[in-house]
């Protein structure tokens, strides 16, 4: 998932070491930049905490990476309830995706969902991005 770029070094060892150190440092800095540019900005969704006490998470925003498992319900103009399987932990969670997101969802597709925990524990998808 992380896009890491590796560069070759044809220079002598001492200079090469210096260069390589620079390059490594630059690469690390670049990678860090790249990584920070690719990563979601929210926190990962605490699945276990949600399952145990969903009320404690109300109002929070999280990122959730998960795979579409099953469409539970759909109402036109409103949205759809989707059961997703977390990529970590293999737990199924229900999320609501509003029709306004115009998402085309298929089972087994993986997404990063930016979610808000709403009242009653509803995982409301604010944004989603296919992984």
């Amino acid at each position: 998932m992380l896009a890491v770029t590796f560069c070759e070094n044809p220079m002598p060892l001492s200079s090469m070491r210096l260069v390589s150190r620079f390059v490594v440092s630059a690469a690390m800095a670049a990678s860090l930049f790249l990584v920070s540019g690719c990563r979601p900005s929210g926190e990962p969704f605490p699945v276990r905490a949600f399952l145990t006490a969903p009320d404690n998470l109300q109002g929070n925003r999280y990122d959730l990476e998960a795979e579409i498992d099953q469409q539970l319900n759909w109402r036109e103009g409103v949205g759809r309830l989707i059961a997703v399987r977390t990529l970590q932990g293999d737990v199924r969670l229900p999320v609501f995706i509003s029709d306004s997101l115009n998402a085309n969802l298929l089972v087994a597709q993986r997404y990063r969902f930016e979610i808000t925990v709403r009242k009653g524990g509803l995982l409301y998808v604010e944004r989603l991005k296919k992984l």
Binding site: F50, L51, P54, D55, L72, N73, R75, V78, G79, L81, A83, V91, R92, L93, P94, F96, I97, S98, D99, S100, L101, N102, A103, R118, G120, G121, L122, L123, V125, E126, R127, L128, K129, K130
Partner: protein
Amino acid sequence: MRRFSLFAALTVIAVPATWGQSNPFSGASGASGATAAVEGVAENATANRSGSRAGAAESLARAVNVSSLESGTLLQIINKAFDTNSDSIDPESGTMKWKGHSYDMGQFRVFRGRFERYLSLPPTRDQDVYAATIDEVFKLLSTRTADGSQDAVVEAWKLLYRASEYESDGGNSLGVANQIFNAWRIRDEKQAFSVTQTELERIRRQQSASVIYGADTMQAEAGRAASGAASSAGTAAANASPRVNIANNGNASGGGAASGGGQTIGGGSTVGMTGQGFRTRELAETEAKIKALEAAGLMSVTQAKLQFQSQIMSLFLQRRFQHALIASSFYRYIFKGSHQNLEVGKRELASFLPSTDLALTVETIEFLSREAINDINSGMASVRSNYDDNRKVAAIERLQETFFLGEYMPAVTQFEPNRKTELLNLFRKIDEARKLADLRDYDAVLVLTEEIGSLTKDFRTPEVTAAVRSAQRMSTLALNAAQQTAATGDYVRAQEFVEKAAQLWPLNPAIKTYTENMASQADLGTQAAVVFDDAIKREDYRRLYERGAELSVAFLNDEVRGPQLKTVIDRMVKVDIFLSQAEELIAQNNAFSAWEALTSAATLVPKDVVLNQRMAQLAPRVAEFVGRLDQANRYEGDGRYAASLTQFLAAQDIHPASQLARTGLTRVSEAIMNQLSAQIPPATPANE
């Protein structure tokens, strides 16, 4: 007839009042616990059944009614078979007829008791000596064998005192002897009267002669005086003076001339008018005494005759025929032929000879007494003949009538003891059977009838057995009709049939069973209501389900509990199906599905003990799944559908085939969508 009246009275026996109470059964409904379709079929079937039952009940009713007409005849047959009374005995009036005369037996029950006592009594002691004494008396008095001398009569009279000492004589010989003594005493008195009368007659003759002589003398004197006066003219006046004196001095001393004239007449005795008057008075007195003596003698004889005749009549009417004969014989010797006509008891005696106008004499009593004795002897001969022929019932009948006529006769009193014992045994058994027949204890009657039949060949065992069997069968028929009528719901008629069955055979064991069943069913109805209400209150449906058959019968007529019971049974049938299903799933190691089956059952009967036990056994194996479902349900209940949805999903993860989870997901997701339909703000489209 009296027994028949008793039977008639028994036929209105009231059946216990419990039959009058309402009956909790209804034969119209049935097939409880079946489905509606099945119920319809069942109702039709029940209606058909009721129709067929009603028809059968009608048939039985007709049979019972027809038979009832004959039941009186059957009972008469039984009664007649047990009747050992002779035709000459009328138990109704308590009389016995013999030669057209009705003897009053007193109360028939008392007479039967006396007859039974006779059968059980041993023969009296020294009976043979007593019989010989009586025979000797007869011989001494017999005009054929005796010489008729006074010595023989006195000897016979003495023997009466000896005979009276025996127990079987009953003191009657002493009464006869005393009567004879009395007659003889009167006769002696009459003889003494005769001596006195003879002397008085002699005196009367002397006095009469004296009076006649005095009168003649006085008349002669007067005649002479008259002739003297005629001859002498101056004495005419003197001739007239005595006549005048006689006429004037009837009770006076007279004048001096007259007195002087009287003294010459007697020749030393009293002469004259005064003396003649005394003699005349003395003669009158003597004649009065003679008349008085004659009257007294005549009265004594008449009194003695009447007393004697009264005693003879009394002995005859008391059936002391031997003593009547003896007394009659003595009477003949004591009183002369002109006194043989009966002055007392003629009307009683005439009843024995209703068609004759002959003069009734002491000989008539003798004749009837001999007739009676002959009848008694022939009766006892008949008894013995029947007994020897093993016709003991006939022997009892003959002995009974002979006993009444000749109760005091040696032929009866000396009947063989062993035969009397046998007849007494049979008599008692027949009497017991008769009483049992009166009580309609037919089983006991049959046993006794068999026993009696083994004792004598002339007892009508087949008739009694047939009559008893018929009565029993009729009672059973009536009871069957009652059962079938009750099954159609017509309890009034059922009660009538039961009454009829009880009338025919009160001890019919089937009646007891029937009444017990009906009573227990009525009791069941009450108990069932209590049990049902309690179980419903505690939601103990399984108890009702287990007693479903019993309660269904009890609530056939209960419009409230009946449908409730049906619902409970239907529900429990489903629960049992779930339980069976869970058992099978557990066997397949599918604990989650088994749990779901049990959970489905729990929605029907949450407090069922068996179900909860199964769930408790299974819970550890499905704890997490159950926890998720439980949590989901609680969240759903709180309106927190999203959290509930999460738990349902988690549960479905555990058991993907979970029906509960699937339905929960559907249900809760729909609820969420409903909420969001109104709340959700439009979302920002994603930029991919």
